[in-house]
Symmetry: C2
Subunit: 434 residues, 2 copies
Amino acid sequence: MAKDGISVGIIGFGTVGTGAARILLENADLLRQRLGFPVRLKRIADIDTKKDRGITLPKGMLRADANEVLNDPEIDIVAELIGGTRPARDFIVGAIRNKKHVVTANKALLAIEGNAIFKEALRNGVQVGFEASVAGGIPIIKVIREGLIANRILSIYGIINGTSNYILTKMTDEGLEFDRALKEAQRLGYAEADPTFDIEGIDSAHKLTILASLAYGIPLSFDKVYKEGITRITPQDIEFAGELGYKIKLLAIAKCADKKVELRVHPTMLPKDYLISKVDGVFNAIYVEGDAVGDTLYYGRGAGDMPTGSAVVSDICDIAKNMMSNAKGTPVFFTKTALRVKDITEIESMYYFRFSALDKPGVLSKISGILGKNNISIASVIQKGRRVGEAVPLVILTHGAKEKDILKAIAGIDRLPVLAAPTRYIRVEGPETG
Amino acid sequence: MAKDGISVGIIGFGTVGTGAARILLENADLLRQRLGFPVRLKRIADIDTKKDRGITLPKGMLRADANEVLNDPEIDIVAELIGGTRPARDFIVGAIRNKKHVVTANKALLAIEGNAIFKEALRNGVQVGFEASVAGGIPIIKVIREGLIANRILSIYGIINGTSNYILTKMTDEGLEFDRALKEAQRLGYAEADPTFDIEGIDSAHKLTILASLAYGIPLSFDKVYKEGITRITPQDIEFAGELGYKIKLLAIAKCADKKVELRVHPTMLPKDYLISKVDGVFNAIYVEGDAVGDTLYYGRGAGDMPTGSAVVSDICDIAKNMMSNAKGTPVFFTKTALRVKDITEIESMYYFRFSALDKPGVLSKISGILGKNNISIASVIQKGRRVGEAVPLVILTHGAKEKDILKAIAGIDRLPVLAAPTRYIRVEGPETG
């Protein structure tokens, strides 16, 4: 029997659920025109059926029990938009086992339990859409999976956490300390009461896990992503970076060469004149370099009800089109790949060091001696505000060096009696300088 | 009978054809992994079978006769990559009538004859992919048609002609005159011997025609696009723009409000701090504003063998996936829409004027009097280098005004005896100033 349209159920009527519902209701005619058939929002489930979300639903659409979505034989696609891992996982698996296609924005769940979820979906012959799980409204999943399908992906650099980008922008533009910028972000609703996931790089790592899996055909490998947040970045670091021609961004980086993949999230110094360096505030951007296409960049809002809703509805439409024409849809291409994920100690990078050294004769010589002994060569040095006998910042930018040599050098340098505080370092991307 | 893979033929072994062939041959294993089945390049046709393209083809693959592609019953998808309108159109229609799917990079042909071509494709039940026709490797067709399907597209601003962007960048960075910057572009191979299509906005208009058709569901309407090139932009204009906080870019603009669409290509002053203003050289970028997603931007190389080849192969893969699962594929959604395309005289914008007026007492008052009489209010004025009795540039930035009032005012002002040369004006986008 030919279907005359597709029915959708939403579980989770929070920010994203409200955005998705609003689009499905308000742009229903537009979607019907574009698709050639209707996509009907049939039901929404949320434990809170009372709260005013500023949207008028048809009578009876909102229910308290998720089973009224999961077990409704008329519903073809279930959008899981509650977030968190439990009960989200159970709803997703429940929908899959009921042979319903699933759309989710749940990056944390996918990054950690996605391998099992996708396997379950494959077994049940249903699709799982997750465009909304990375970078909100930017269709980066579709871009990597379909738009750039012809390319070996050489590298991905993503600003994919709006909270951190807002904080770093505030610190850069106004010279604020991290704590003050975080408070400001919380006041504006850009950071949660517990901001750990955002500021420690965990949220970015969830998203990088998903992007890397698509780009390299490796299983979702959250545990193998190196994660370092922005809490130790100081206005002084930002200022020195500026003097050297760089901006500091929290980047999610994936690179592939010689059958090895690097997966890392950390504050990164980027040349000021890179387009991605100019992405400020809560905006997200993902730079993707392909062997054929070269440099590309995708920019937009990484969060919010309507941007994320836009991504949810695009997944719903893709699945709906496939259903209407009995197509299987895009497989999530986790191929059995021979690629290995590197440990962070195996990477090579340029580095920025900020040493807090007592300003005594011979300090620079001692430090640079230890760097040299560890195969680290110096590209530039900044030393300012000499006050003999007091600790002053000594900044060194290196040429390309190995992370394991860097760690050894720092251990040696931090043992020097002239060091007043542990050495800080930031990885630097861009062309070699000096 | 289930197919075990998809066979592709290419007509046109020039720059783009070589790029597409190289990707299909060199990344064949990758494509097979990602798709789950092989896409095989079976044949290439080009009248020149001798030229060295720096690529080694399997023996017998390259033929001089396009019919060996068009009439080969094994070939499923034909990529038309010769450009120009004839015989390109005949090859495309020939392929369609032979029930072959078509992929093309031919924006000029689609913009002008696309309505008939898509109708023919619909009649024959085949798909026409044209990702490569706009912005080279940037998957902007897929983004608008699928990634942002949930959105009413409020506006599109595209830097979609690399040649013009290179020339304007050169003029901006080095203060070059247009003619010198054009010569430099020709020397580097960024501009053709006859650069008319690029510098007069025609190529951008071809591409805008295609984007607007997808965004608004209107028939391809190349004739209705306002086209103005960059040949009359001077280093002086660029300098004044800079002083006022703007950069000059050749923009392709599509906007929709109140059931009316604006389609225009012209030099445009854009606030310096916009991300798209920072897109320099031969790069392309398209800003797309959707009602749900908000601001988004897509950046990459708009031309070249491999970037454009990347787009061609992505279309081939999309069609191949649909064929393997017997799906119909994405319709080109030319819905019967009630949207009307505005004439340029109906638009509203801010404007930059450069008057060449003899510096006599009362000139500013006369000019501003005529502006006022035509409902044009002034946001800022720059007047410099007073040399009484000689022509000096007088620059005026307006608030929002109607184009038809602007034209009337200029006609009046240019009749003033103190005017030494025709008045130049440039449309200005961005927030209202002053």
